[in-house]
Amino acid sequence: TQLLEQSPQFLSIQEGENLTVYCNSSSVFSSLQWYRQEPGEGPVLLVTVVTGGEVKKLKRLTFQFGDARKDSSLHITAAQPGDTGLYLCAGVKPNTGNQFYFGTGTSLTVIP
């Protein structure tokens, strides 16, 4: 069992549809990040959330940190083929310095 579980694991949708990816844990995190990874590349940071209940928007992407800081969600509105990739959440646990615990990943394919 991984510390951060993401769902769904795989998602294939048509261009223009909306989707939500979930990142859940039984542990509390000081902060949580979302990354996107494209084939042959390393993960690239999308956003960091640090306050329970915090909502951040990045164009068509909306990120939310759970009130208890144990979970997060990523919502994409009107998905585009350019959104295709592997989405990873990562949490920093209290008192662990900079150790990032990564989620199990969600592979998104947006079909034109």
């Binding site: 991984q2 995190f29 000081s30 902060s31 990040q33 990354y35 990874q37 042959g40 590349e41 390393g42 993960p43 690239v44 940071l45 960091t48 640090v50 592997l86 990873l88 990562a90 920093v92 209290p94 310095g97 900079n98 150790q99 990032f100 615990y101 990564f102 199990t104 990943g105 592979s107």
Partner: protein, 114 residues
């Protein structure tokens, strides 16, 4: 200029060999990491260094040995390679201690042991 660079990008080698992967970051960050990404795309931390000092050493076989000659470099040496070591290895760095930080990743090294 590439912020976090790893070499080589691809590495194919036979079982039992010893190999090294190099990592350099030009971001001025104090903390560097090695992660292993398995075939299911799960990223697991292996090592973390802060200012050349080992901070995190997860449960990794002692065939894996990181070396940090200075805070801009963190190399990974692997002895007696095994089939199960095949994976993509990522180097990363982060700018500061504390919770409000982020990781910057290299492009990865795909290691294939045959």
């Amino acid at each position: 200029d590439t912020a976090v660079s790893q070499t080589p990008k691809y590495l194919v080698t036979q079982m039992g060999n010893d190999k090294s992967i190099k990592c350099e970051q030009n971001l001025g960050h104090d903390t560097m990491y090695w992660y292993k990404q398995d075939s299911k795309k799960f990223l697991k931390i292996m090592f973390s260094y802060n200012n050349k000092e080992l901070i995190i050493n997860e449960t990794v076989p002692n065939r894996f040995s990181p070396k940090s000659p200075d805070k801009a470099h963190l190399n990974l040496h692997i002895n007696s390679l095994e089939l199960g070591d095949s994976a993509v290895y990522f180097c990363a760095s982060s700018p500061r201690q504390g919770y409000n930080t982020e990781a910057f990743f290299g492009q990865g090294t795909r290691l294939t042991v045959v």
